[in-house]
Symmetry: C2
Subunit: 658 residues, 2 copies
């Protein structure tokens, strides 16, 4: 294990000025955050009711009425605050900051004397605190509060919220743990663990780290478990009786976490848990925890991840299923699970320094995380299918969990604010640093100042990635310190060479998916120029993935492409890509606000000779055509229609007539 | 419209002595009927509880206790009695007949004074009679009782049961109809309509026919409908609240039946309804009804039928969905729906004399109806998938309705007795007659005596179809009457020639899927010899069926084949059929009790080069192999394992490496 993990620069030191990403981040800043604030306050009439702020008011006894919403409704506000905090680091917004300050005060007033904070239990079941760890989501909610407060403190320097969550964390530490009289249990939905590590890193108070580790260690280790015991208590009742049939594997509590060799159960829970395992594993130098993380990461990405960087094949249980079960039209692939996959990947990268983790973070971010939101920033997917025929979704309720288009808000509103906080926190992913090395992980145009051990350097990235692969990194090194630049070489390509301003080749060392320059005192305005090849590629899936057999997906760089009805008409299942044909990227200014389409040679199975027939001896008349693919993350922005990522592929025309 | 429809000879005149079918019929006679009788009496400990007979006892006040089971539990007994009746026509069984007589007496004692008969309402809701036509299933249950009684009367000549159901039918006629004071409604689940036509044909009492026609005419014609009105009545409560979300199209009551141009809603209900429409259409010379039937039949078979002769793509609502929505691993394809498709097809054939209808009846019977039962006769499928990976069924609950293996009995036990009555009534499908023509519809070895207008002839069919296509039909014509023989020429093939005993070609006229010999006084022991070509064929589906794109199914004659793990190992999705390779049938005495396998050249996608990878640029290393396919109807008789009907197909090896 590395002695020191890589760290991200402060968000406020990262500026993003990127054609691809800035539009999204601007959307979050200018539309999503104000919009979500309106939703949280129930002022958007055609969106699902949130009641989130009202719940805090009722808990603070400043309003009357009943609690409304899911037990974890508080987290909508927490994730909004976290997203706003990240946003404020990049760009001030005094109006929203004022709203935030007010809601933070309100949260403070809704907090109980002993630090307890959860409006559901405060309003609805004041005697029921901590009585249902499996379903109650109190620790999950606390985790999001802590993450938000940590972010808000870092962004604004204001410590009111931080103090609130320290009292909350103290309340948790007083309630849980190995000591007699404390609850020997862990939450049904992980999140508190990684939040406590964040709080530890900010406060350096070890009790928070120990608490996180306790929650991890006890998980799946007891027999009978606290989850079983709590059900036997007087007054216990299920909050989600509809999930009673799910086993303990759904909450990753079926065996001790170090013995979990395969990702299992609810995908978001799993990935929040694994993220915490990576955090605690690093902080406690616990190699067994990190080993489990490595194994789980390889399992997910080797057998249970969709090409779009999404996970969770099953709707019921929102969970991982069995290896190579990757259905394209009834998958679940929750947006939050891709957010969590990116979180886990980033943590693993920071510990391991291996680019393979950033490959996956990039894939999740560029495809499913972005695909979760509309290009106007106000509509969201919870489920992210890879294949949609709207008529089938409506007619066949086996697919009822899949929507043909995004919704304004969602009853379980975890995804929209999760996208928001990921986008405003994107700066965390782009650069990393250790003592003497500046890492460029993602190719996103912008600037950053990075504090290395011996001084500060400023880096500026110019690129039109993912539309164009040319990247120029300029490092201003006014202090004249020695440093090494490490540039990620994505696992799916090879970077030919890196040249300097003068056109001379910069010699690099390849290690674990990064190109390292030598460590030296580079000139005061050094340039590093290279190109990430972005040839569109037809990708195929492992032979055991039956749903992708004989099919290919068009991928260009980090972007997975799809065919949409808007460009290619209906019956996309009848398209056959020509593996030997031309396939070329074309930037189109008027397409989806400006994006690169991929045009590809293909055939379409003709319907001639099929009149009135449903089956006949194998015969296939193919008609040459050219299809237009658009980035998956931008699908469903031109009305409802068919969409398909995986398409049949052949190398030559085959006349199958016998 | 033909003036006289074709009719089936009496079941007692049909003897089946056929390698393929006799084993099944023997199973029904010797195992299923006795076994199901035990189940109905709750004497099979490891099968789902039936309580059916006990319900009758309670209704007759001969036992105490509560009603148990679905509201239509009575039909389990009715379908069993109907199956037994057909069986008795072929072979006496005094033991079961004695049980039947006793249960019929019991049914009589459970009948109410006014003829009403339904143990659920009698026991559970005596004041609720006819209060919930949508969900109550009283008319559905009555229909099955009538069908059973008609069959029992024809088989035994005993009229006790017939009298019971006449009183029941009279009660229905007194309750429903256009007159003031009667209920102006129709049932949620059709079945009574076709049963009333049967009763009419037996008794020639026109009120039964008129009643059937009334139920058809009023369906979907009222606004508001009786279904809507009944919900507003005091005390109304849903029996199946879980189906409340389903629209009136689910029960084919969304528009008048003559305006229904596409099959819609619950597949079994739809096909029972269409069967009744064909019956009433014929009896009332109602061309508009028959036109609707023709349109609906063509719609189903042209856009919504699986190649295995099953229908109903959606589990929720057990219903037809949208055109070309034919998913192979999450379809519903209820066994009963294929029974009903065969029923509808036979009726349409009898009215239209067109072989295309028998093609579909044959497909349903030889594949899904038979596939619904195990080769030991005691285990049953309700849902009939075309593709199963047992691990996925267990891990991904979107597929929860699909079982990897048959069950001993089913909570909703419609399918097992429906298979039983279809198999013991198979004789109805094999031959038809009109004034002067003997029709041979299915190629099933056996004998039949047929009464034509001018006298009786005896026909004997010798064949090993569907394993071998050679058919010899011998007609004994001792009375020396003129007749024409009409032999079905399946729509999927061409019969080269028909020869006589002396080897001379018999001249035939082709019309609507039949080969007609001239009408003449054939010699007293005339022979007609021909061959149905049974070359295995790779079939493909319409280009709009995305789930079958690029795939083929192996079909030989009426039998659809599938690959099973038992013969071909796991990962059947990695198999690619060689469309240009050899494909040959091989009868194997030791395979599944003796059946014809199909051996076919194929490839398997190699896993070499895939270690640790889930996606990579298109590359496919194919390894030559030979696969062994077995008849779909016999799958899952060798333990749990993968099964797949549709397989990738290519004509030549393609190296897709770019």
């Amino acid at each position: 294990m590395r002695m020191e993990k890589l760290v991200s620069p402060k968000l406020s030191d990262v500026k993003i000025e990127d054609r691809f990403w800035s539009r999204y981040i601007k959307l979050v800043r200018e539309k999503m955050l104000p919009y979500q604030w309106e939703v949280l306050n129930d002022r958007v009439s055609d969106a699902a009711k949130s009641h989130c702020i009202e719940n805090f008011k009722i808990a603070a006894k400043e309003s009357t009425g009943k609690y409304y919403g899911m037990v974890f409704q508080d987290t909508d506000a927490a994730k909004w605050l976290e997203a706003l905090a990240y946003s404020l680091e990049g760009e001030k917004n005094s109006e929203l900051e004022k709203e935030a300050d007010e809601v933070i005060d309100l949260i403070g007033r809704a907090q109980q004397k002993d630090g307890y904070l959860d409006t559901y239990y405060t309003i609805q079941e004041p005697l029921g605190r901590w009585s249902n760890l499996r379903e109650g989501h109190e620790l999950y909610t606390a985790g999001h509060m802590i993450e938000a407060a940590a972010a808000y403190y870092q962004a604004t320097g204001k410590d009111i919220f931080l103090k609130i969550v320290c009292r909350l964390a103290d309340c948790i530490c007083n309630t849980f743990g190995p000591d007699e009289g404390k609850i020997h249990g862990c939450p049904g939905h992980p999140e508190i663990e990684l939040a406590l590590v964040k709080l530890y890193r900010l406060t350096r108070d070890e009790k928070y780290l120990n608490m996180a580790k306790y929650f991890l260690d006890i998980r799946g280790s007891q027999s009978p478990s606290h989850f079983e015991e709590e059900q036997k208590m007087d007054g216990f009742h299920h909050i989600f009786p509809e999930f009673e049939h799910l086993g303990y594997n759904n909450i990753q509590a079926h065996k001790p976490i170090r013995k979990q060799k395969k990702a299992d159960g609810h995908a978001v829970r799993a990935l929040y848990l694994y993220s915490a395992m990576a955090d605690v594993g690093y902080e406690c130098r616990d190699e067994s925890l990190l080993d489990a993380c490595r194994t789980l990461f390889d399992h997910i990405t080797g057998a249970q991840m969709f090409i779009t960087g999404s996970v969770g094949a099953a709707a019921d249980g929102e969970c991982f299923t069995c290896d190579y079960d990757l259905p394209n039209n009834y998958n679940y692939s929750e947006t939050c699970a891709s957010v969590a996959l990116a979180m886990f990947s980033l943590r693993m990268f920071q510990v391991e320094g291996d680019g393979k983790y950033m490959d996956i973070a990039e894939r999740a971010l560029y495809n499913t995380v972005l695909g979760g939101m509309s290009l106007n920033g106000t509509e969201f997917f919870y489920v992210n299918p890879l294949e949609v025929v709207p008529e089938q979704l409506k007619a066949n309720r086996t697919l009822h969990h899949v929507l043909p288009s995004r919704r304004k808000w969602l009853g379980v509103a975890c995804c929209p604010p999760n996208i928001a906080r990921t986008l405003t926190g994107l700066g965390n992913y782009i650069y990393s640093e250790n003592e003497d090395t500046l890492f460029v992980n993602l190719f996103i145009a912008g600037k950053c100042s990075v504090k290395l051990k011996e001084g500060t350097i400023s880096v500026s990235v110019q690129t039109d990635y993912p539309y164009d692969g040319k990247v120029k990194i300029t490092v201003e090194n006014h202090e004249g310190i020695p440093f090494s630049l490490a540039v990620r070489e994505p696992g799916w390509t090879k970077v030919e060479q890196m040249i300097s301003k003068s056109g001379k080749e910069v010699s690099v060392r390849r290690e674990k998916g990064y190109l390292y320059t030598e460590k030296t005192v580079w000139e005061s305005q050094a340039e590093f120029i290279f190109e990430i090849p972005l040839k569109p590629v037809l990708m195929c899936a492992h032979p055991r993935v039956a749903s992708d057999a004989g099919k290919a997906a068009i991928v260009r760089g980090p972007l997975v492409y799809c065919l949409e009805e808007a460009d290619n008409g209906k019956n996309l299942g009848a398209v056959v890509l020509d593996a030997g044909g031309s396939i070329e990227p074309v930037f189109q200014e008027d397409l989806l606000g400006g994006t690169t389409a991929v045009l590809a040679d293909a055939w379409r199975v003709s319907e001639k000779g099929w009149e009135g027939k449903l089956y006949q001896p194998v015969t296939e008349r193919l008609e040459k055509c050219r299809v237009k693919a658009v980035p998956y993350c931008m699908w469903n922005n031109r009305g409802e229609g068919e969409m398909r990522v995986w398409l049949r592929v052949m190398k030559e025309y085959q006349d199958n007539t016998q």
